[in-house]
Symmetry: C2
Subunit: 324 residues, 2 copies
């Protein structure tokens, strides 16, 4: 059995899976908001221990634990630097070493978006294809690319589809640039847009729903509820998000021409099928291969996709090749 | 020795190269404007014959002839369908068979943009890299992609960077869509924009230069001359083209993160270094990897790049592998 951890800005999801990829145990805990990287590492180790207990094993018996992490990842050395949305995590922290010491097994860390793409490609909605584009619509908009059955990482920074320019001289993106897809579609940018509209006097239930749910930001659940209640501003902003996603995903397809698109991420999964369909429709006017559009699927592994994908980072050890 | 032909809307460029890729003979003829595919095939065969004569060989002695062609290519059967900008070439035409019969050697046809990218990758400005994006700025804006040392064609339609959406609800592209990079940067779109501005009363020397040169459209040379003469409208439109190219190329890089960009094409080569530099500068505000931008080079093989690249389609025949 192998462990997998999806390290997110709000939650840590851990799983223990068997060799077929079936989940034997899982645990979800909130990401610590104070204490910095060592406290986050402790919470991650605790979550894996709980998942292992549920699966009936000790962590030291696991073949290893894979981690999908935000930030800049040095996979070889197991170091994570400037992990976005994580507390006080600017400098480098040896996350693999800390976890490995605590859990008694090897640990491998990779980029969270690529890990989730790997999971859908191997076990989820992408398993019938040789090339896919994973679109993770959440706080930002991330992209994962599989070509000829393998991840395409470029020089290490491929798949930044959230920063495709969809509107020259357009809206300011949380990244500081102008006109990025994410400036219209990312949850963080959407919240900023909503706040500005409210300051200008527009009415919306978004922030009332947020407070009622005890949240301090507009979560995917808050947006979903506001849309269900036909909140006018929520509809207006999400319509713009869908339009930007359609143009951006079509642009990425015009470059890559992969066999299929998989839509996941917090907002993507929460809004689900009706919005998958709307994004697909919004792609069409911009898709060069509109006569033969690639299928657009929702991610199948849902909330556990990131953690399951992380577990795939641990491959069975091979024997050393025989001398020639 | 091998032959190579670059089939363009205005000219047919043929070369004969030796095994090192050095050009031993070349010929350039205008593309016939009447007569349809058979007349084009005849002109292509004549051009190869002239290049072969210059190289001191008969065409039947060539290992083969490669062709870079616009249109939809069925490489296996050597058929070209709906070749854009070529006269009366809507239906399928067996170009490889016609040329092969006429020249007495085998013929292989591929997409013109990919062929030019292969040439720069193997022999030109891309030879030091494992992954590149070729940007061909001409009548349209085409893209060629090499990843891990091999062409990436997707399902057959990868690299359509001209149709990256750079402006939602933007200008109408010759392809019929809105806001494509090509709608601002392609030579065809630029000419349409210039004509509309003139109809609205704007002043420009563009069409006077065109007539003086005996042209019926705004060639790359006409644009270059107008820019040299500080024509205000030419500068305004080319500035917009550069801005769109910057956003579009940066967007493609945000997806692909390749090691280098090579700029070629009629306009790209004619406007040359100052505009290579301007496109590079226009990319920066939109490039996610702006701390470590990939180098942007001009295509090195110049006007002959397409024909030399086509010659690379003919690889030396290998012996059949021995039985296991």
């Amino acid at each position: 059995m192998r462990g997998g951890i999806d390290l997110g800005g709000t939650k840590i999801q851990a799983v223990v899976v068997d060799d077929a990829g079936d989940v034997e145990g899982e645990e979800r805990v909130p990401t610590p908001t104070t204490g910095g990287p060592p406290d986050v590492a402790d919470a991650m180790a605790d979550a894996v221990r709980a998942a292992a207990t549920a699966a009936g094993v000790e962590t030291a018996e696991l073949e290893g634990v894979g981690v999908g992490s935000p930030g800049i990842i040095d996979t070889r050395r197991g170091i994570v630097t400037s992990a976005r949305n994580l507390p006080d995590w600017e400098g480098p922290f040896p996350l693999a070493g800390a976890l490995s010491d605590s859990l008694g097994t090897r640990v491998r860390i990779e980029n969270d978006v690529q890990v989730a793409t790997d999971a859908e490609f191997n076990l989820g909605a992408g398993r019938d294809y040789r090339s896919i584009l994973g679109v993770f619509w959440g706080t930002g908009v991330g992209g994962g690319i599989m070509l000829r059955g393998k991840p395409w990482l470029g020089r290490g920074g491929a798949g930044e589809i959230g920063h495709l320019v969809v509107k020259l001289d357009g809206a300011r993106c949380p990244c500081g640039r102008r006109g990025c897809m994410e400036a219209y579609a990312g949850r963080k940018a959407l919240e900023e847009r909503a706040r500005r509209r409210v300051e200008k006097g527009e009415k919306t239930d978004l922030f009332r729903i947020m407070e009622k749910r005890g949240r301090d930001r507009l979560t995917s659940g808050v947006w979903a509820r506001a849309l269900e209640h036909d909140d006018k501003l929520a509809h207006k902003l999400i319509d713009q998000a869908v339009e930007a996603l359609g143009a951006g995903v079509a642009s990425a397809l015009n470059v890559l021409d992969v066999e299929a698109v998989i839509i996941g991420g917090g907002l993507g999964l929460r809004l689900g099928e009706p919005y998958r369909e709307r994004i697909e429709k919004a792609m069409m006017p911009h898709l060069f291969a509109s006569d033969d559009p690639p299928p657009v699927h929702l991610a199948e592994l849902g909330d556990l996709g990131g953690a399951i994908g992380a577990s795939l980072l641990i491959r069975p050890r091979r024997r050393a090749p025989a001398a020639a």
